[in-house]
Symmetry: C2
Subunit: 190 residues, 2 copies
């Protein structure tokens, strides 16, 4: 009997593969992500995976691209929810960074950390980072303050994802940072 191979939409398949890769990376980290594992998790053959992504790095790059895209959307969404003029971007960035819903910044950080030796991925991320930093600095706040807030958000996010800090006082920290990003506060004011 002929295995009735259903003609799949290649675009869908690509997304399926990325979903699978995301899932694997999320659960076990990028270090243990293997083509076989992704293929298996996507219910596809390894050859199939390699058809859509010429090699492993391309797959990881694809992951990164999708993730940063979603992160961007998240930021824009948060801006719309709180667009008050000065510091709107900084606050949105902070909230997006610490938001736990959906595929979050965790995976970006995991990618970031485990893919240092993959130049293609790092270049992708670097470009985005430059953009984020620029928009942070042009947010109407003191650039140094805004940058500090951004870095703090990343530090917190990292600490949380590594399980190195409980969510104990984090609420207070977030409140403080949001307040800092709340506008008309000169840099020399505590």
């Amino acid at each position: 009997m002929v295995t009735h191979r259903l003609a799949r939409d290649p675009e869908k398949t690509r997304e399926m593969i990325l979903d699978a890769a995301e899932k694997v990376a999320e659960e076990k980290g990028l270090g243990t992500l293997t083509l076989d594992l992704v293929a298996q998790s996507a219910s596809i053959s390894k050859g199939g995976v390699l058809h859509h992504f010429p090699n492993k790095n391309a797959l990881i790059s694809g992951l990164m691209e999708r993730l940063t895209g979603r992160f961007q959307q998240k930021i824009e969404s948060f801006i719309q929810q709180d667009p008050t003029a000065p510091g709107a971007y900084t606050r949105a960035y902070l909230r997006a960074m610490l938001d736990n819903d959906g595929p979050s910044a965790d995976l970006i950080y995991a990618l970031l950390s485990e893919a240092r030796n993959i130049p293609e991925v790092m270049n992708l991320l670097r470009a985005d980072c430059i953009l984020w930093q620029r928009r942070t600095e042009e947010d109407g706040l003191d650039p140094a303050v805004a940058s500090a807030i951004r870095f703090a958000g990343e530090g917190m996010s990292a600490a949380m994802m590594f399980g190195l800090a409980g969510p104990s006082c984090h609420e207070d920290v977030i409140q403080f940072l949001l307040q800092l990003a709340g506008g008309n506060k000169p840099s020399n004011l505590v």
Copy 2:
């Protein structure tokens, strides 16, 4: 052929191995760190490495232990240079984090990021992190503010090590954070 083997001090050898591992990890990241590479870089055989460290994870744990120890020392040293009562620890932590001299926080971060799946290492680091966080919160500042400063330091450090942010406005950011931490800085410090 007689390889004139000189009787080495085992303790020295251990340190040599860790030095080599540190160097390799620093240059190419933990992901590419291999026993052969470490052995080669230490001018020793792989068997020799495995004699001192029963397996790879033990080697990485050894690395982590030495690094956090040095980081601790760095903090204490910075405290002595600027011990003004409130915020002394927070400022010292920040400075130690961003100090580029010697084996810095970079490697700790690299280890942290690439060794998530090695529980032994993570437990080591977690214990230290709890300590650091506690001392930060008990530094005489508002705990939320002190924590924020700490996180910002880590975020900056990470960004720098990943090459995701030039040192452009970083001076201003550091100044702002030190100011937040109540610092009247001595002239020989940043």
